[in-house]
Symmetry: C2
DNA sequence: TATAAAAGTTAGACTAGTCTAACAAATTTA
DNA sequence: TAAATTTGTTAGACTAGTCTAACTTTTATA
């Protein structure tokens, strides 16, 4: 049985190795920052997780999850996203409120609870932020997402998820008038600082490069979770 | 903010002081046993809870909750019973499965979660074991319950709750053919060992004194949570 | 009421998870 | 490539919660 803390380390490692474009390895500082602990603390825990065969790691080397570690981490992400979906759909929580509570709920130990919750929610594929919920087998479908920052000027796309789940970011997203499934047209991109001019529901606004990097989009033709054919896709 | 452990101590103290007929005080051994720790451990924690003004306690003296401590404890019981109700009603858990998972869920920190859950369940008054759910103000209605062991031979009553929430006890209850709201007739009571002969749905079986002490009942006329008038009540 | 039994406390030790400060290795850069 | 910077590790300390063993106080009983 894993402790809350161990679960959080595995989850953080999965997140880091998934985000950093398939390099599948993380560093101690990065991990420590992600978990809001000091690097020394992360080193200690890494030794422990190595002994338990959840991570591959040697002194001063890169860190990666073993297949067992990865399986556990995916299970935690699955629980997190199912709980977010429950809070949003059944208890009328708002988009920006669900994450914090799900951080607690994801550690509840009961296989039956998760199976039943999944069923109760009618086996959802995406959480309220548009992120894919791993299925009961631990499989994660590829969603072929890009960030808004990568879309060329003149092209249109559809917002499907966010990369930053902080309350401040999510509230800013709402303020700009954006939400899941909104169609976004990239009107222009400033050469100097990459400031984007975007059009949402007929309203044009400016967003920073940093903001755009945290908005995930698919081509306007794409079904969520499926890639367009190459010939049709607007943003590939 | 209270830790999981502190919450469990407060909950155990509430349970002990409520059960032991309004004496409103507990002992170190009793508390330690209830929490499956050693008495020395309980003593340490009591000092801490005293410093935090959650319990009234002095060396070698009786232990009781302060009003703040009691308020916290009731809130935890409220959460526990709301989660049990959720698991039972919405996720089709059985009677004997809910307790264990609710022991974990009761520690989730989010006022909004509990308020919304309460609303989602349509403000239930009783949990799946028939126990009263404290309301949002922390009020607990008196349910005028007796144990089956106290019912006179010849009288009938209605099962409303159990005192023992262990899986083994609950499974035995089911095996005997009993459940919430079942009518029970006490056919006879053996003088020598208080073995009870009871009739449920036309079937007569024998149950021990120990078993009967863990089945809570009201008079057959009683509404759950309300007392009969004295003149009508069958078991008073 | 003196003594035995029960109940409760203290002291010292251990684990998990965290920290700071000092140090070592790896990487970047001048 | 040597120095500077960044990254990562070690050593030692702290807290929360737990334990065992020895001791003290209270309560029950002979």
């Amino acid at each position: 049985m894993l402790s809350f803390t161990e679960e959080n380390y595995l989850k953080a490692l999965l997140q880091i190795t998934m985000e950093s474009g398939e390099k599948s390895a993380a560093g101690t500082n990065e991990l420590a920052f992600n978990l809001s602990v000091k690097p020394a603390t992360a080193t200690d825990m890494l030794k422990k997780l190595k002994d338990k065969k959840f991570v591959d790691y040697k002194k001063y080397g890169k860190i990666s999850l073993t297949s067992t570690g990865r399986k556990h981490a995916i299970e935690i992400v699955r629980k997190h996203r199912l709980w977010e979906t429950f809070l949003f759909k059944k208890l009328a929580f708002t988009w920006d409120e669900v994450h914090e509570v799900a951080e607690q709920l994801e550690h509840i130990q009961s296989q039956k609870l998760i199976d039943k919750l999944d069923e109760f929610l009618d086996f959802p594929e995406f959480d309220p932020h548009g992120d894919i919920i791993p299925n009961a087998k631990g499989e994660i479908k590829n969603s072929f997402k890009k960030t808004l920052a990568e879309v060329d000027a003149g092209k249109s796309c559809k917002m499907v998820a966010v990369k930053d789940n902080s309350v401040s970011f999510l509230q800013y997203v709402v303020k700009v008038g954006l939400g899941i499934n909104n169609k976004i047209k990239v009107v222009s991109r400033e050469r100097y600082d990459s400031l984007l001019s975007i059009e949402v529901n007929g309203i044009v606004s400016s967003v920073s490069q940093k903001f755009a990097q945290n908005i995930l989009v698919v081509c306007g033709h794409c079904e969520l979770g499926k890639a367009c054919s190459k010939t049709k896709c607007e943003i590939k």
